[in-house]
Each structure stands twice: as structure tokens, then as C-alpha cells.
Point group: C2
């Protein structure tokens, strides 16, 4: 009896001697003069292909096998044996090749030649079949699974915070509106659109962050994390911005800023360790073809102790660095990517966590420090990317929080439920946000964020 196994399994030396069924897509076909063909197939289970040898005596050799081209789908039955070739432990001597679907060489775009990532974005439905995007899919999957497992093992509850929300909770950016009104003829009341007629009886939007709702769960059940889509309606056509992206936001009760930094450091090291261990072939490919520093950088970070210093200390270092920056540095201004990268890449040569930022440049919910000038914020900086994680200890004191809201022209009544968390059994608590795509970009070295999410949404792009 032949048994269906994956290409990943068939490529291991232990598979030698097994009679198996393999199913996948043809990557290449080469014909030998001695009347047999080499067919490389891939099934997505790993980066590498397996080579099948199809003998000229197979009944469909002339009619089908010799016409196989990249993209054709096949079932191959045969015996796994040791490969005499280099770079592969095994190969399959085919006893039967069944062709399920062909792929016209004239029109199928994924022939052997290389395509630009930009072109591949226009065929996002086919790009998972390429080496690069298959590898991105596996690494992204591994990262997601690693993050879930990290939090689950640590006792965090996975919480689904709402995607549609009526509260613009931190003014974190422009929002998409969600509506069932007929835009051609929206009902009006006193000359204005009558949102009482909309689905939710009021204007509603796509969330920019699940943090405030995650705080609800932390302030009652201890530790929670979100892992879901978030949105920004910013008209940014850059390699770093998406209108729709995935965020992970852990939140911990009874946790201060130091505990928060510890968690962020531990989480990143865990993810990088898992990816190196579970996707070695994919990472090797990125290291070879996309960014030659990828493996070294990940290894270095796993072994480093993250350097922690205050924003104030960082500003001092930057001002006395002698480095020419495009943007000036001064206490009280936000650091730019160039400053962050200088600190992590040149000055410390390791990941850096900056903490205690000026309150004036940070949102209302961050905890005011005793100096009343800074808040308990922290940013984790890594090479090439700069900030990869941003977090804070949250303001747990009702009166201070209300005062900070008013300072920032926010209406405390709009946040009644958020304030209730401080009114009833308030606790010190902390959390952070991590953008999944930035993390996958960092790990793979992929230059454009549109190439690490299956179907990127950007201004003008919502196809597929």
C-alpha cells in the first residue's frame, strides 16, 4: 500500500525505501536523452522540491509527462530512494504520474524567469506558488504560531477585541468609516446625515487598536492578549505602511514598566528562536537571496541582553554623537527612525529599549512619572527597522488620568468605561503593541511590507 506523504517527509533520509504518493505542483521538468524525465515538484510543505524520475515506459510518458510544465498539478506514486545528486538526500522513482491540471506555457506567468515583486503583487493569487512567497507564508505562519504559544504557555488569555467600534479611542490616526447607509442618498436630519438610521445608530469605524479593550480583560482576569486586524486610513504609499495590518497587544495586570520590558524581550527572543529552528530552509533562502544579514541579526538578538536606557539618556548620546542627522534631536521631540537606528545599529550594536519619554509626545493613557515630565513609555528598537514594539505602563490613577485627558482635549465621558476600570479595583498594569508585518519584514529582510501580508491593502488597492 502506498501512503500519501508530504514533500518535506519524502526529502528526509528516513523515507528511503517507502512506497509513497506525493501530490503537488511541477516546478521544472528536464528530459534525459535516455528517455526519462526529471520532474521537480513542490507541495508547500517545505521550501525544497523533490525530484521524481519518470521513465519513458510509463504509459502516459509521451502524451502527458513530456508535456509537463511549471504549475501543472500532479500525483506521483513511487519508491523513495537515495539520491545520487548533490543537495538532496532522496528522490522518487515514479511508477505512476497522474496529471490533474495543466498550465499553459504561453499564458501562465510563473515560468522559470524571475519576476519583480511589484509584478507579483498584481498576481497575488499566484505568488504563493513562488519560492519567495511560499517562504514568506511559512515564516509568517511560524511567527503567528510562536506568538500564540508564547502567550498561551505564559497564562495569557487570547481575547478578540472588536473590529467595528463607535469610539475613536486614542485618536491614533485616521479611521475608516463603516456604514450601511446608501451613499448615493444618505438620509438627512436637519441638513446633516442621520446616523440614527445607520446600522449601529451612530457613526462607526474600523479599530486602530485593541489596547483599551484588552485592558478591560487584564483588569479583571489578569493577563490577556489580542491578535487581530487593525486599520489606518492614512494616504501613505510607502514600503512601511498598510491600511490593514495585524497587531498583537498583550496587557498585564499587576505589572510595571520593567515587567513589560521583560515580556517584550522574552517574546522577541522566543519568536526568533522558533523561526530559526522551525523554518531553517526558508530563513536560509532569505539570507542568501534577500538580505545577507538576516540570520546573523536574529542570532545576535537571541544572545544579546537588550540595552535599556531612558529617553533622556538617549537624547544625550545622540546630541554628543557627532553624527549628522537629517532631523535635529532635542529633549521633548519625538525620535526619528534615523536616531533609533543609530542607537541600536551604531552606538550599542544590540537591541535597545528606550523608556520614560516626555509626556507631551505620548498619549493620555501612559502613566505619569513622579517627575511629572515623563511617562512610563517604552519602545523596543532593533537594527534596520528602528521601533518594533511600543508600550507603556498605563495610568491607573483615576484623577491623574482624567486630568491628562482634559489636557489633551478629550472628553472623559466618552471614556466612561475606561475610567470605570480605575474607579473599581484599579491596578498597576502594562502592555505593548507589536505589528505583525513589521516583525515578519524584520525576520525575512523583505523590503516592502506589501510582500509579507497575503493581500495588501493600500490606497487604491483592495483587489482579491
Amino acid at each position: 500500500m502506498s501512503e500519501k506523504i508530504t514533500v518535506a517527509e519524502a526529502r528526509r533520509p528516513e523515507a528511503v525505501g517507502r512506497v509513497v504518493v506525493l501530490q503537488g505542483w511541477v516546478r521544472t521538468r528536464r528530459d534525459s536523452k535516455a528517455s526519462f524525465s526529471f520532474i521537480e515538484i513542490n507541495d508547500g510543505s517545505c521550501f525544497g522540491n523533490i525530484q521524481a524520475i519518470a521513465d519513458g515506459e510509463l504509459e502516459n510518458y509521451e502524451s502527458q509527462i513530456k508535456r509537463l510544465s511549471p504549475g501543472c498539478s500532479v500525483t506521483i506514486e513511487g519508491l523513495v530512494r537515495e539520491s545520487p545528486g548533490k543537495g538532496q538526500a532522496t528522490e522518487v522513482q515514479a511508477t505512476r504520474v497522474t496529471v490533474h491540471g495543466t498550465a499553459d506555457v504561453e499564458t501562465y506567468p510563473l515560468q522559470k524567469k524571475r519576476h519583480s515583486f511589484e509584478f507579483l503583487r498584481s498576481i497575488a493569487h499566484l505568488r504563493p506558488r513562488t519560492n519567495t512567497f511560499g517562504a514568506v507564508a511559512r515564516v509568517r505562519n511560524c511567527v503567528c504560531n510562536s506568538i500564540h504559544q508564547f502567550f498561551q504557555e505564559d497564562g495569557f488569555l487570547y481575547v478578540h477585541t472588536p473590529v467595528i467600534t463607535a469610539s475613536d479611542c486614542e485618536g491614533a490616526g485616521e479611521m475608516f468609516q463603516v456604514t450601511t447607509l446608501n451613499l448615493e442618498d444618505a438620509p438627512k436630519q436637519g441638513g446633516k446625515v442621520d446616523f440614527a438610521a445607520d446600522f449601529f445608530d451612530r457613526p462607526s469605524f474600523l479599530t486602530v487598536s485593541g489596547q483599551l479593550e484588552a485592558e478591560i480583560f487584564a483588569c479583571g482576569l489578569g493577563k490577556a492578549y489580542t491578535f487581530g486586524p487593525t486599520f489606518r486610513a492614512e494616504n501613505s504609499n510607502t514600503a512601511r505602511h498598510l491600511a490593514e495590518f495585524w497587531m498583537i497587544e498583550p496587557e498585564m495586570a499587576f505589572c510595571d514598566l520593567v515587567g513589560n520590558m521583560d515580556l517584550a524581550e522574552r517574546m522577541l527572543k522566543r519568536v526568533f528562536t522558533d523561526v530559526l529552528e522551525k523554518c531553517p530552509e526558508d530563513i536560509e533562502f532569505f539570507n542568501l537571496r534577500i538580505d545577507k544579514t538576516v540570520v546573523e541579526t536574529l542570532r545576535h538578538i537571541i544572545e544579546s541582553e537588550f540595552r535599556r536606557l531612558t529617553y533622556t539618556e538617549a537624547v544625550e548620546i545622540l546630541k554628543t554623537s557627532g553624527e549628522k542627522f537629517e532631523f535635529p534631536v532635542d529633549w521633548g521631540t519625538d525620535l526619528q527612525s534615523e536616531h533609533e537606528r543609530y542607537l541600536t545599529e551604531k552606538h550599542f550594536k544590540c537591541p535597545v529599549i528606550l523608556h520614560d519619554y516626555p509626556s507631551s509626545i505620548k498619549p493620555f493613557y501612559m502613566r505619569l512619572s513622579d517627575d511629572e515630565k515623563t511617562v512610563g513609555a517604552m519602545d523596543v528598537l532593533v537594527p534596520k527597522v528602528g521601533e518594533i514594539i511600543g508600550g507603556s505602563q498605563r495610568e491607573e490613577r483615576l484623577d491623574v488620568l482624567e486630568a491628562r485627558m482634559k489636557e489633551q482635549d478629550l472628553e472623559p465621558e466618552d471614556y466612561w468605561w475606561y475610567l470605570d476600570l480605575r474607579r473599581y479595583g484599579t491596578v498597576p498594569h502594562s502592555g505593548f503593541g507589536l505589528g505583525l508585518e513589521r516583525l515578519v519584514q524584520f525576520i525575512t529582510g523583505m523590503a516592502n511590507i506589501r510582500d509579507v501580508i497575503p493581500f495588501p491593502r493600500t490606497p487604491g488597492n483592495a483587489e482579491f
Copy 2:
């Protein structure tokens, strides 16, 4: 050195003798005449509380401890010892009690009396602090983790399909529109709203399903699953409908309908097994307080072989059942919940998988059978709920698919990329969809779907 541990850890007999720090929220306080108090605290790590004994000699006994009320947040240091009480293995002799936040007895709504679930929905920010909603949160978390692990161990890739989409891909229901146009004054072109001025240059919507995009990944990388939010803008105010809910949609290349049914059955059994094993206290609570059949039903399903039969056979059984149904049964009509429940609850008394439905009542993408009257659809039916999973083998033949689209008045050009999957290396493939909230409802016995999602979105409700 005292070490911080969770209430779950402190409740285990192995904790006896340890000097620990516990942090959580007060559930109750009782004072003994002999000048000491019992304080029950919960930290979300498990259903049960731990009892702390605070002696009258503690320095803040009169000023703070004797004023503790439900909802107050505390840190308790002390020695874990065997409890003489029934129903608990351990208790904590407190050596220090630190109060972080109080909760005014007059205004804090969660006093000892019971509240209706309806009222608790209006304070969704506080309900996670109740027994019921803490248990729902833990079970929901366990279900999510179990699903992810099931697919990860089986070699599926977790794929994030888009939330915002310009294609209404199966006409599966009314959709929410997503826009950045100013609704008060939308730009017009020739008397119509000019969507070229909208963010995505065209009308765009919130997804109703990730299936078609999941097929892209299966048809190139073998096995994929989605786990993300989906939306329906239906004006349904029922206990079974949400405008925003989470779906899991696996998709497998080289898989027929039988393989699809096998996967669905295996997955449900795995999830139920994990929940019984990992959340025994929570499930016990649901069984005691919410629905006395919950444990028995889950156990029975784990041990049952799911009964598989065709739609045609099911119609025959229903017609000859002698049962009075509200809706008549006839070949070619959709089965109602009452029919599905009759089959699984009364006739077979086990989970049922119906397959091979009339093509006329199913979407275009389901594979047409050789009889040309039915399609390779399957629904998994369970007691109390009826359909919990719906899936199909997908039509992989380009010509048949195009013909089916035209039959259903769909424009093949709108689905160019979906058709490309059949044009290039097409393969037999199958998948299904599972609504997370229906599953959590089924497991917990919670009657209203609004009570198994943290922040339900329904007509008129987008608070929090």
C-alpha cells in the same frame, strides 16, 4: 523570598508550605467574631477563588482590610496551608495585605446578588469579572488555542485573508461598506458618488468569508486555514446572530468531500477533548448553572462516530418520520433547524453529516456531482444547534465553474483570479467554515451568542 504565583497554582495541594504573593480582586469578605477575616480572591487564572485569612493584628486590619468589598484589588503575601474547609485544598494565611484599588459598594454594580445577562451586556467592560464571563473567556481562549494547535500539528498554514475587500465574493449576505468619503458631502461625478475619490478607488466592503482567498493558498501550498473576523450587515436581532463574528476556514488541496468530513469530525473531537481536559472547572460550572447536558453531550460526541448520509436519504427519513414540523420537507428545499435537530437529536442521537445537497440551493463554487443535480456539499449537525459546520468540495473544473457562475448570474470576469486557480494547475480541493461563537455557545450552553464574544456587535450596538 516570597514568590508571585497564580491563584490556580496556590489552590493545588503541592503549594502547601510555600510563602507566596497573590494578586487579584476580592470576591467576598467575611469577618469572624474572633477578630480575623476571610477574603476570597480571584485573579482570572482559574474559575475558583482562594481564601485568605487576614488576622486582626495586621496593621491595616481596621483601616483597610475590614473595608474590603467585592471588586477591590489586593496583593496578599502569606503562607499557603492545607484548608480545613470543604471544597478547597488550600488557603493562605496572610502576613500582609496591600490594597491597590477600592470599589465603592454603593456604585460598583457587581455586588453579590445575581444580575441578568442582559444587564451585564450593558457593562461589558465589567462582566469579565463575573464567574460566568470569566469562564466564557477561558473556554473561548481554550477553543481558539485548540483549533490553532490542531491545524498547526496537521501541517496547515495559518493565512490572514483580507478584512476589507472590493469583491462581494459569494453574495453571502448584506455587507458593510468601508469608506473615507465625507458622508455629509460625498464627491459626485455625473450625479453619482465618485468612488474613484474613495480610499481604495472603488466601493469596498467588510469580508463575509475568507474562503475564496484561502483557496488561493491551498492551491499552491497544499493546506491552509483562516481564523479571523467576518461580517454580516443583516438587521437580525436574534440570539444567534452577530454583525461581527470570528470564522475558521480550512482549505485542502488534493482532498475530496470524504477527506473534508474526516477533517471536520477530527477537529470537533479534538476541541471538545481539549476543553474537557483543560477547563474542567469552567465546564463543570456551565454544566451546573447553565445547561445540565453540556458535559454529557461533549463526551458523547467525542465517543461517537459521526453518522454520514446524503441529503436525499435525510429527506426520506424526515418525510416518513411522522414528526410534525413547522416547515414542510421536500427534496430541493433547504433544511430548517427543526429538521436538522430532529435528525441529530431524535433519529440518530449522535452528530450527523449530511452531504450531496441539491445544487439549486448551494453556491456556485461547490462541485457538481455526476448526477448533475447535487453538489459535493456537507453540513455537520449537532444537538441543540443544528448546523455547526458547512463545507464542500470545490468545483475545480474551469468550464463547469464558469457555467455555474452564469447560471447564478455572476460575471466570470469579476472572479478572474478565482478562475485562474482552475486555469493553472487545478486540483481537487475541499474546505469548510466553522463559526467560532456558535462553537463556544454549543460547548458552554450559553443561550445568547452575545454572551460568548467579548464585545458583541448587533444592530444599534457598537459600544466599547
